[in-house]
Symmetry: C2
Subunit: 370 residues, 2 copies
C-alpha cells in the first residue's frame, strides 16, 4: 500500500516538501538530497565523512538532515557493505555475577568502538543450543562473536562459525587452541588464595569446588592442588558442586564437622557465603576457628559476616579486553590468531582469614591466643 513513492514527481517538482518536515514514514536519503538540492550520493558522502565535499555543500546537507530528522537506515547499509556494525554476544542466561558484568563490559567497550551489540542467550551450555545461538547471530550479519564461554562446548561451537567472522571466547578455561580467548588466570588466583592461608600457618587448605564440567572450576582446583603439593601439605579430597550458596552450605556442613579443617578455599564467593553459614551454624567461628577465602569479589563480599577475603576478578576489564581482541581480528581481515590473553587476579584480604592457632590436634592442645 505505501510503496507508492512519487515516481512521476521527478526533476523540478521538488517543490513538494514546502512545509511538511515530518514525513509519515521517516525520511530517507533522497528526501534529504532533494531538500539540500544535491544528489543522494552527496548526502552519502557527507554522512561518511568523505573528504571531497565542499564546505558549503556539507553545511546545506547537514541542515537538511537536521530539518528532516533524518536517520540512516542501517539495514540498507548493511546489505550493500556487508558490514553490519554489530557484534554478537552469546551469553549464558544466568545472573551469576561474572557473566552479567562481562556483558556490560563488552557492551560498553563496543559502543565506544562504534559497534552495536545483540545478545543471544542460551539457557544451557550444550553444544546444540550454543550452535543455534551462533547461527542466529550469523543471520543478523554480525561481524564478530564474543562468547561468554565458560565451558568447552561453547568455544568448540565457535570453531565452526563461518570463516571470515571474528570470534573470541571470554571467561572460562582454555581447552582448545582454535579460538582466541580472554580469561583470568584461575590457577594463579587459586594459588594466591591457597598460599595466603598456608602462609598464615594452616597445615593445609580444604577446597569447595565448582561444577566439574566448568574449566574455570577445574583450573581453580588445579591451582589449589599444586600449591598444596609444592608446600608439601596434604591434599584433602574435593567434591564438585555448583556455583551456588546452597552448594557451599551443603559441603560446608560436612567440613564443619571435621575438626581438622582450619582453612577453606571456595571456588566462588557465593559458595563461600554458604560455607560461612554452615560454619556458623556448627558453632565454628570465622576466622578464629576456620579461615575462608572466596573467588570473584562480588560487590557484596565485603559485607559478609565476616567480610570475605577473596580473589578479585576484573570482569569489566575482561569484557573490554575481549572486545579489543575481536577488533584486532576484524582489522586483520578475519584472521583468527589463537591469542590467549590471561589476566592476573588479585587477592583481597579482608576479615575471613587469620593465622592458624597452634597445635590443634591431640588431647586439646593449648590454644595460643593469637
Amino acid at each position: 500500500m505505501s510503496g507508492k513513492r512519487p515516481a512521476a514527481d521527478d526533476g523540478q517538482a521538488a517543490r513538494t516538501e514546502g512545509a511538511a518536515p515530518a514525513q509519515p514514514r521517516g525520511s530517507v536519503m533522497r528526501d534529504v538530497a532533494r531538500l539540500a538540492g544535491v544528489s543522494h550520493q552527496t548526502v552519502s558522502r557527507v554522512l561518511n565523512e568523505h573528504p571531497n565535499v565542499r564546505q558549503e555543500t556539507r553545511r546545506r546537507v547537514l541542515e537538511a538532515m537536521q530539518a528532516l530528522n533524518y536517520r540512516r537506515n542501517l539495514a540498507a547499509r548493511t546489505l550493500v557493505t556487508r558490514r553490519s556494525g554489530t557484534l554478537g554476544v552469546v551469553g549464558l542466561e544466568t545472573t551469576l555475577f561474572g557473566p552479567a558484568s562481562m556483558l556490560y563490559g563488552i557492551e560498553d567497550a563496543a559502543r565506544t568502538a562504534g559497534y552495536f551489540v545483540t545478545v543471544a542467550s542460551v539457557r544451557t551450555l550444550e553444544r546444540r543450543s550454543v550452535v543455534e545461538a551462533v547461527d542466529r547471530l550469523c543471520q543478523q550479519s554480525v561481524e564478530g562473536i564474543i562468547a561468554i564461554a565458560p565451558k568447552p562446548a561453547v568455544t568448540n561451537a565457535l570453531v565452526q562459525v563461518p570463516p571470515g567472522l571474528a570470534s573470541v571466547g571470554v571467561g572460562g578455561g582454555a581447552d582448545d587452541d582454535a579460538v582466541p580467548t580472554v580469561r583470568i588466570d584461575n590457577a594463579a588466583g587459586a594459588r594466591l588464595a591457597t598460599q595466603h592461608m598456608l602462609d598464615l600457618g594452616h597445615s593445609t587448605v580444604h577446597h569447595v569446588a565448582g561444577p566439574a564440567d566448568w574449566p574455570e572450576a577445574r583450573e581453580r582446583v588445579e591451582g589449589w592442588r599444586s600449591t598444596l603439593y609444592a608446600a608439601g601439605a596434604p591434599v584433602p579430597p574435593v567434591e564438585p558442586g555448583s556455583w551456588s550458596a546452597q552448594s557451599g552450605y551443603e559441603q560446608g556442613q560436612v567440613l564443619a564437622r571435621d575438626p581438622s579443617v582450619t582453612a577453606i578455599f571456595c571456588a566462588n564467593d557465593q559458595i563461600a557465603l554458604g560455607v560461612l553459614r554452615a560454619l556458623h551454624e556448627a558453632g565454628k567461628r570465622v576466622p578464629r576457628d576456620v579461615s575462608v577465602v572466596g573467588f570473584d569479589d562480588m560487590p557484596d563480599s565485603g559485607y559478609f559476616l565476616p567480610p570475605l577475603t577473596t580473589v578479585h576478578q576484573d570482569f569489566a576489564e575482561l569484557g573490554r579486553r575481549s572486545l579489543a581482541v575481536l577488533l584486532d581480528q576484524l582489522k586483520q581481515g578475519g584472521e583468527r590468531p589463537p591469542d590467549h590473553v590471561l589476566l592476573a587476579p588479585e587477592l583481597v584480604v579482608r576479615a575471613s582469614t587469620a593465622a592458624a592457632r597452634r597445635a590443634r590436634r591431640g588431647p586439646a592442645g593449648p590454644a595460643a591466643i593469637r
Copy 2:
C-alpha cells in the same frame, strides 16, 4: 521445468555450485534457486511457508538449502519488509540483580516469540544518554523498545520515540501515564514486609531506604509509611541511601546504636546485608534483638546470617510480561495504550524476623506475644 534456465548458466558458472557445501561468501537465495531448479521467488515462498507450493518442490528447495548451508540475509529482508524482527532493550549498565535478571527474562521471551534482542546500555539514567540509546536502537530499525527503566527520565525519553514504534518500561515506578509499564507493586511489597513485623509485635519498624530519585525506592518508603500510619505506629525518620551493602552498613551502624530499634525494613537485600553486618558488629543479635526484612529475594538471601526474610520479586516474569505488552502493541499496529501491569510481590519468611520481646520501653503498652 528446467528448460527455461539457460540464462543463469552463462559465463558466471565459475561460481562453483557443483557440490561444494561451503561457499566462500555464503550462499544466497539465487544459489539455492539454481540448485533446486526453481526461481528465487519459489525459494522465498518455501522460506516463508507460503501454502501454495507443491510438496515435491518444497522438498527440493529444502534440500538445496541444506546442501548449501543457506542462511537468509536479514538485512535484505528488513530493508524490504520494514520489519527487522528485532527488539531493543535499554538497560542500565549495572550488575544489580534485578536489572540483570530482567534482561535475560526479556531475551528469553523474545526468542520464544521469534525476535532478536539488541541492547543499548547506558551508564547513567540521565535523559540525555537514554535518548541517545533510544536513537541508536531506532537506527537499527527495532520494532519495539523495552526500557529497563527505574527512573522517570527513562520513561520520559520513551515518550518521544518515533510514532509507530512500540515501547514499554519495565521495573521502576510509574510517574508517567504516557508509556505503558510493567512493574512490581512496590508499595504492596513494603506493606507486606512492614505488616509482617508489626504482626510480630514490634511497636514500629525502621526503614533503610534506597536512592531518593528512584521511584521504586520511593514507593517502598510510601508503602512502609502508610502501613505504620494505618497501624497507629510512630513513623521514624528515613534517610535515602544507595542500593549497596555499604549504604546499608552505614545506616545500620546508626540504627544499631539506638536501643529502641527492634525491626528494620531494608529497601533491598544488599542493603539488608550491610545492616546485618552493622548489627552484628554492634553486638545485636538477629532476630533476637532486631528483626530485619529485605526486598528482592536474590538467590543468596537464604544464606545470609541469618537467612533473610524478604519480599520476593519475580524478575523473569517481569521480563516476560513486558514483552507480552510490547507484542500486543505490535499486533495492534503501534498503538500505545497506557497499560500498566502491576505484579504482586510475595513475602518469603526466613530466619531474620522474630516476635518482639515484651516490654522494652518504660511505660510502653504491653506487646502481645504473637
